[in-house]
Symmetry: C2
Subunit: 426 residues, 2 copies
């Protein structure tokens, strides 16, 4: 009997799409291209020599455990360290609240796995992190986008939606947010919005997923308490990661949540991959327990901050009027909004072709086909020379493209979608 | 509003149970207990010094890639190596057919994720690998057990079930087998059965998952071609792992399957954990490309084979009549069947209490509450001294327990369930 795979796939599989962004990266990885597309941490900051030394010592001294299977819930001491760290930062947490995951992406997967039935309603930021949207899609959650502005998720918009759903007898199960230096926009959710979100969660009985991979990379402004630390009911599931503050290649992240939930997550993870890699966990633990990671985070801040400044000032200098962008307080990303009538994909193709410069066009971060005039710029991987040169070259293309059009309209008119216009250039 | 997690869990979460075996391990890990319970590879065989050296070199020389995110589908050269290895072993495979996973357990998860709708029918060996059953349960597949005997899955029994389902208008989607030195029984599926299974797959249009973590650890008997290598239609999804042939702590396994399926699996993995750990993959690749792993597998065979022999001969010497067990040609496990009226759990508790010896009672490997008189013994982790001493002590307990009962009945009567009675002792 001839095979027909299409007939055999599960219903949920029709919701799975390879990330367009990842496919696109292949184009941008040509060595002659200056790329602001990738959102990876800079390998300049990987403490290679120290990692090489520590790994070697750990394998020699503790090889029988470091190379063996480990507990599904993760390294005991690492869970303890993370519980203490989170408690210090305001969210009272014990070891039983922590599950180690393969980066925070696995956290998103496991949470969706144990909580989402097909067509459960999930609120997500628009634009939002594609990995988070992907995890929800994989379990057929119905994503309801809510816009963000320079204060983060528009909780007043959310409140209206929740009321409307309530009238219709519908219930939102999860709200997914990246409150600090969000991917892709770089914006940070204000304390007021965080508190408002928690009030709404209590009133409308939903769970908040707080995904915080970038939170420690704050370059300016005051620390804002995590939503988790403001949570008195256990409604917040917090996701942490060592991918941006240490290295991503070992895939170590964590979930901090109510212990009943963590028990279910452990059961789910057992049949998902038995355990996360023990060697990577032990390596992270060494860097945590010795205090190295705290100093390292400070070094990262000193490394990324000037790159952020340079990209912003270069945009100011070279981008024509009518283009706006966000001013992030931390993380890796700046979100650019071109005039409404411009296609960022077309700009991107021109930039690649004419000037060999890449960024990510923003449409992929929207669920509803909008955002076609937006773009994500990352300053994490490019060198300062590349940032200066790349933004200059982009400016050339943009002036050429926009010079041809009647820009008076866009200068005074709409600023594109979404209106993240904290700073409008020139 | 007070929280109620139970109200929020997805339907599938009710199918997730923490593995009783894993919970039980905590009991058996006391240092004064001789344990045949765990099925982990022996850390005696981890090439610690070489791993320490290679890791250190790789991080120093290739740190920018080894510590960074990698492609979702896995390390390019490792995929190529695995494709060539599988082709050499009879299954023509190219790089596009390979996806690197976090151990083969993640392979089981991803396959279930993209193929299983709730209540899809999945055939599994009874007794069977709990991790495989867990992955199917996590996606609400309905498991239909089919017994195994000393030739592996009873394909004639399967054929009858398939006919019956066909009459009832039902369709089996997947058949999950561990054909070599199966966990928990140690039995190997004969070539005839493999061929029969493929014929049935063609006739009844189902997919075969061939999970082969132990296949390279063959201590005697002739190599039997993989089901994948006999497959002309692309119906077989093959799962491989480095956990038993190298080290488990880095979580590196692979799926080899039809390329259309692999594309879907990559999309699913992207939203599951972005990528497997790059450092572990690169480490494995080094050991593969240098040919080290092939020699290492030979060393493992030389290491485990005498332990297998010793456990079998010790059972022969110390176990009373009425007990039977399997004689594995490879892998880590011997499956013991006590007389039908005996509870292996009770025997286990007595052994632990009186003699500080542990094994796994077999009930957990059955889906239907049977198998209560069975047990899994592993010879992989215990030393030869522990095997001799532990089986002796067990024999004491068994003689005591069985001496109290009327054994004439069990000697001549039923041999327990299932009847894996290749060798009946004494």
């Amino acid at each position: 009997m001839p095979m027909s795979w299409e007939m055999l796939y599960a219903e949920r599989t029709s919701c799975m799409k390879g990330s367009g962004i990842r496919e696109f990266f292949k184009l941008t990885e040509r060595p002659d291209v200056i790329s602001f597309a990738g959102g990876f941490p800079s390998p300049d900051c990987f403490p290679q020599e120290r990692i090489a030394h520590v790994l070697s010592e750990l394998v020699l001294q503790e090889g029988t455990s470091v190379l063996q299977y480990g507990p599904t819930e993760g390294n005991h001491r690492l869970r303890l360290y993370l519980a203490q760290k989170m408690t210090r930062e305001g969210a009272i947490t014990s070891e039983e609240n922590i599950l180690i995951t393969n980066g925070s992406q696995q956290g998103l997967d496991l949470i969706s796995k144990i909580l989402l039935n097909p067509h459960d309603l999930v609120i997500a930021e628009e634009p939002g992190y594609v990995g988070g949207l992907g995890a929800i899609n994989n379990y057929q959650g119905d994503i309801i986008p809510v816009s963000i502005d320079e204060q983060g998720l528009c909780t007043h918009v959310l409140e209206q939606k929740l009321k409307q759903f309530s009238h219709e007898g519908k219930k939102v199960k999860l709200v997914y947010v990246v409150p600090n230096f969000q991917n892709p926009t770089g914006v940070t959710m204000s304390l007021e919005r965080r508190k408002h979100l928690l009030q709404l969660a209590d009133r409308f009985d939903f769970i908040i997923i707080e995904d915080n991979p970038y939170g420690e990379l704050r370059y300016r402004g005051e620390f804002i308490p995590s939503i988790k630390s403001l949570d008195t009911e256990g409604r917040v599931i917090y996701l942490g990661s060592f991918s941006k503050t240490f290295i991503p290649g070992i895939r170590v992240g964590w979930i901090a949540a109510d212990r009943h939930l963590v028990e279910k997550l452990i059961a789910a993870k057992q049949a998902t991959d038995l355990c996360s890699n023990t060697m990577g966990q032990r390596l992270v633990l060494h860097f945590c327990e010795t205090g190295y990671i705290d100093n390292h985070v400070q070094e990262l801040v000193s490394y990324y901050n000037p790159k952020r400044d340079l990209m912003l000032s270069s945009m100011e200098q070279h981008f024509p009027a009518g283009i706006s962008w966000t001013v992030p307080d931390g993380g890796f990303f700046i979100w650019v909004t071109f005039p409404t009538n411009m296609s960022s994909r077309e700009v991107l193709l021109k930039c690649l072709e004419q000037q060999k410069v890449a960024f990510v066009d923003g449409g992929g971060f929207f669920t509803n086909g909008t955002g076609k005039n937006t773009a994500r710029f990352s300053f994490s991987e490019a060198s300062t020379e590349e940032i200066e040169e790349g933004v200059y070259r982009l400016g050339q293309v943009l002036q050429q493209v926009m010079g041809k059009k009647e820009l008076v309209e866009t200068r005074t008119g709409q600023q594109g979608s979404p209106s993240l216009t904290k700073v409008a250039s020139n």
